[in-house]
Symmetry: C2
Subunit: 680 residues, 2 copies
């Protein structure tokens, strides 16, 4: 937690300058090929980029993947399919723990709610977006932008469910680009090794290295009920990776904050991160205890806890980075450097951004608790989508809340309609937690607390909502969705009624946040981005936005405080590390297979690539764009990567194609899958 | 948590100057009587001080109290007796929830482990203490000081169990004083109103005001099995307190950090507070869920959770204060001001103190997890006291670890020998939590993690220790204590064996902490205190040390962000605030008594007194030193009081003697107690 790792410590070195060796979440339309040629001797040609782009997929669960056969086979991480494995497990089986290998094409089951997007084109819409809302401020400006974005997306993709269009702000608003994707809305699970092999070492080993995890899984894209034909796939290469080898990662890094101002980072350090950490820690505690209560609770809460513990570690690392005075001093110096250059516009956007932080402080908790709602409650999310979906669909496309534009409705509909298990015991825990934290944070006497609770206790209200709601039934949801506002108003479902009760206030808070925070922040960000382009040209890359990026690097370990960590682990190391006690206990299949496996097989490896959450499942590729593994983690020193990349110690952690191939053959009896990967 | 209170915000105003109006944790031998005369028109004479000192008690549970009858009756807070109420409840009753009124003298039951100390004298031992260890550094210096302290205490008190001597470092080491107490080791519970009346509003209302809590309890001092004769008691005054009235609080404020350096505060801000908050939040989550599992768990975990939630709120307030840039800027300015004055000695103690912080960063987690051990596990605490007690008693008085000097042994013995309930389910939770957090913080591969866990999981090890240990039995503990090292070495109790396994490493860490942290910190603190005395003379008061202090002030509300909060609440307000849902549900006796109670009785009140944790249970006195209530809380804006006092918004919260008297008569049928209070 505040262990002696000082994640942020070494970050200070590299803030002031433009991108350093191996740094960068590069877009495919501005990849620094010359720099890579000089650093690694590898030619990244337009054809190379096009080939990789055509085979790189983004998963709606917040992960990345790659197409690795002509029959729609996708490689990703096991931790990206845990929700799916949980959802599609038959009553008497637990795919999450035990894994699954679909016996044949027909046995591959659809992951509910999952979509895969493959990027087809990027086009610049900066002028249209920055033109919208010109002369306006606050909420009016935000609304004009939302309308423009919805219009652009609809023009480009129409209402074709096989297309997905998204206007993406890059460089904190310095550019707006339209990303057009081919969408697959039937994605099925082919293989998962199960938690014990994929997540050996559990939370204690998460973000650590050396590592011994088979954190891979295979999915398959389907079209019209058949495996999709995907001729533009990458080649599988199960040869042993070597230290020093040039490697590339193509995936979708989530939000980073490398271009945020010091004032914005201070708000994270003193407000949002401490709040998130405290909430995650308590929720984690409730969930740990919940899972100990019964085998069923253990199963139900498994992927939930895994996600919470992962986020918790990430936030701890972020806070450490921002609490590091050397890091913050470097950020201050870099900001001062940029501000000292000839101004690219009028006014002082840094001062404007600093002024916004006071409004964030006043509105943040209300926005978090009332508008963002509970952590991960399916029932609440369904009710919110149904209530708002009905209201928003009744409006013209350009006047709707974000999330309900025509371009987005197919995704919402799928998430509402797909049958997924709703676990009442877990729902009760999550809702009760949210309600009690709302009362704590807003205080008992706040009108919004009274609106949430009335005269009920958090415990009693959560119980009433969970016991009475029928929204776990996909048919009930479909009827409410199809019935629109009339059906919503007539509904006696307590969760629908509860969400309706708080919705006017939640919308009011959202509007205030747009007015006081989002509007002015966007304006200030855009002005700062303009200054940055003026100073540094296109030698810079944009912060992560969960869109396709390419990172270059090498297979390599690191040295920190005098201790050198080599980059490769082997199967032999797994058996040495096992203690027999969870989470260091081996899957029985691995115990049985020990004699058959080549102990020297390279299992996991560390590389110098610059990745971040969202990159999970990304292909690790060699210079020929062949898949030699899949990235599933960073080392503990990489967590500060949200704020900057340190070439000395930030490392990507991947599982090798060599290990996957060996395990598929000798542990899982997945010969057919190996043959498909080999192009056989 | 990070609610919009900005606890630290207003603190900035008053840091640079010496003590302001109503500020101060004043010692009885340096009370600013002239200042109080000028401010309040009240004469605090030596006789006044002597009278109050003779009736002010300190409770070993970390609270304060006052003698309010000639028969040893003590007034304190209900939240100070929750552990006792839990411990002495008969099998079929729950005093903690339902309260208790001892029917007669013979029915008053002893609170296990509780002692009460009444201060008899203060004498200066600065020269002896600072002379010890002269020329030494690090651990050697710390050891010389410990030896000197043990010698002074033994000279003054001998081995008389009715006396308690403590050498107290004041002014962060600027003075060392010997506090000599009369000790009462038989303290019995007379009356508790029960949780629902004492803690109405629960955690949501904790640290809030307006408030409606009867947070009072009565204990009785016993000597030789009979109520102690206490002629030097305070007079009970059940008249209605009035806004603006001069009031005084005599009690034992715990540790404050008002004289710490900026470097020390930064360590709190970035290391110890975030760590403590994250641990408390997760433990709270586990405990909340634990309590929901059964009525028995709810009972067992009640006072535990109450304590954790209180600490959690305190730490949140502390972090907010330290995250407030205006507050920290003021601290930096005050420090610069003092450093700019002519030096009181050689060297730069502020730089020395800053250098120590690096060593704290390296050692802190090891010290916290291995040496400090688990949060509140009775079994671990017993085993540690038994294992160390045996080893330390075999050494000369001056060579023992702190806590085991001859002057301290009676207290240790009492805490080990007194029969107290040990709750296995709660022990399991606490130990499992501690072990899993140790692994998380130290990382799985750290040798100390391996020492703690071996090849066991935290869950399995905790289970084995709790299931196998017999240390819940006071007879077993007595045999091990009396048997000394031979008995400890021969013991097959798994908890004893576990503590023995980690003890050499825990002692090594402790020694390293003494060497690198405690030794140099003490030296630097003493030099800074010298500089402060040179600059400001005795116009300053020392940080809280859980020793007797006197605070002056007035009954008064406050205005914050334009909202004025009046200082008095009434019984009528309680009934208005009740929703029927916990924790805003009324005790049935209060529902029944509604018609009999005078609704206008002043219930709780806020005053401008400067208090802090440890002051709980302190008498609130008028100018004549009559008891008009007992302090039980501060307002939310007072939590930053660890670092400074803001006269505009820091407020003490007390329950009035008027309300206590009315409730005793009309709710609890405690006429005899009322008569005793009236001197009848």
């Amino acid at each position: 937690m505040v262990a002696g790792v000082g994640a942020g410590l070494a970050l200070a070195a590299m803030i002031a300058a433009p991108a350093m060796a191996d740094e960068g979440l590069w877009t495919f339309d501005n990849f620094p090929a010359a720099k890579v040629k000089a650093a690694l001797g590898v030619d990244i040609t337009p054809a190379w980029l096009a080939k990789v782009q055509a085979a790189a997929a983004r998963l709606s669960v917040g992960c990345s993947a790659s197409v690795v056969s002509g029959q729609g086979l996708l490689l990703t991480n096991d931790h990206c399919v845990v929700d799916c494995a949980h959802a599609i497990s038959p009553k008497d089986q637990d795919y999450l723990t035990d894994g699954v290998l679909a016996a044949a094409e027909g046995a591959e089951k659809t992951c509910p709610g999952m979509e895969a997007d493959i990027l087809e084109s990027i086009s610049d819409v900066t002028a249209r977006m920055t033109g919208a809302g010109a002369g306006l401020a606050g909420e009016a400006m935000v609304k004009a932008r939302i309308a423009q974005s919805a219009a652009i997306e609809k023009e480009a993709c129409g209402v074709d469910p096989k297309l997905q269009c998204e206007v993406v702000p890059l460089y904190q608003g310095g550019q707006y680009k339209l990303y057009k994707y081919r969408r697959y809305d039937d994605v099925r699970l082919v293989f998962s090794p199960g938690n014990r092999a994929a997540f050996f070492g559990g939370d204690p080993d998460n973000f650590n290295f050396p590592r011994y995890d088979l954190d891979c899984a295979f999915l398959r894209l389907y079209e019209g009920g058949k495996p999709a034909a995907t001729p533009q796939h990458l080649t599988w290469n199960p040869e042993t990776p070597a230290a020093g080898e040039a490697v590339f990662v193509a995936g979708n890094p989530g939000s980073t904050f490398r271009d945020q101002t010091v004032a914005q980072l201070e708000t994270q350090r003193t407000l949002s991160l401490p709040l998130a950490l405290a909430q995650l820690a308590e929720l984690r505690g409730r969930l740990i205890r919940f899972r100990e209560e019964s085998a069923d609770n253990a199963r139900v809460g498994d992927d939930e806890l895994q996600g919470i513990e992962n986020d918790y570690k990430v936030y701890v690392g972020r806070l450490q980075a921002l609490d590091d005075p050397a890091f913050m001093d470097a950020r201050r110096a870099a900001e001062a450097d940029l501000r000292a250059k000839p101004p690219a516009g009028t006014g002082d956007p840094w001062a404007d951004m600093a002024a916004v932080q006071k409004d964030i402080a006043a509105l943040y908790i209300y926005n978090r608790q009332l508008e963002q709602g509970p952590w991960d409650s399916s029932l609440f999310a369904y009710a919110r989508a149904l209530v708002r979906g009905a209201a928003e669909r009744a409006k013209p496309n350009g006047e709707r809340l974000p999330g309900y534009a025509d371009s987005e409705l197919p995704g919402v509909e799928k998430s509402v309609m797909d049958a997924q298990p709703v676990e009442p015991a877990l729902e009760q825990l999550l809702l009760e937690f949210w309600l009690s934290k709302s009362r704590e944070l807003l205080t008992a006497d706040d009108p919004d607390t009274r609106l949430l609770l009335g005269n009920e206790s958090p415990e009693a209200l959560a119980k009433r909502l969970v016991a009475g709601s029928k929204l776990g039934d996909a048919g009930v949801r479909k009827a409410l969705w199809d019935g629109g506002e009339t059906a919503i108003e007539a509904s006696d479902d307590p969760m629908i009624q509860f969400v309706r009760r708080i919705d006017p206030e939640a919308r009011r808070i959202r509007a205030a946040y747009d007015d006081k925070v989002n509007g002015p922040s966007t304006r200030a960000s855009e002005a700062i981005a303009k200054a940055r382009f003026a100073a540094y040209g296109d030698s810079v890359y944009p912060d992560g936005t969960f869109t396709l990026r390419l990172s270059y690097g090498q297979v390599g370990g690191w040295t920190y405080r005098g201790k050198t960590t080599p980059p490769l682990t082997t199967f032999a190391g797994l058996y040495t590390r096992s203690t027999g006690a969870a989470p260091f206990d081996l899957d029985p299949r691995w115990i049985a297979a020990k004699g058959k496996l080549n102990p020297d097989t390279v299992f996991d490896l560390s590389t110098t690539n610059d990745i971040i959450g969202g990159n999970s499942g990304s292909p690790l590729m060699n210079a020929k764009a062949e898949v030699i593994g899949t990235a599933f983690d960073g080392n503990i020193l990489s967590i500060g990567g949200d704020y900057g990349y340190d070439p000395q110690v930030n490392r990507t952690v991947a599982v090798s194609a060599a290990a996957i191939t060996e395990a598929l053959s000798k542990v899982y009896g997945a010969g057919a899958l190996v043959r498909e990967l080999s192009g056989g």
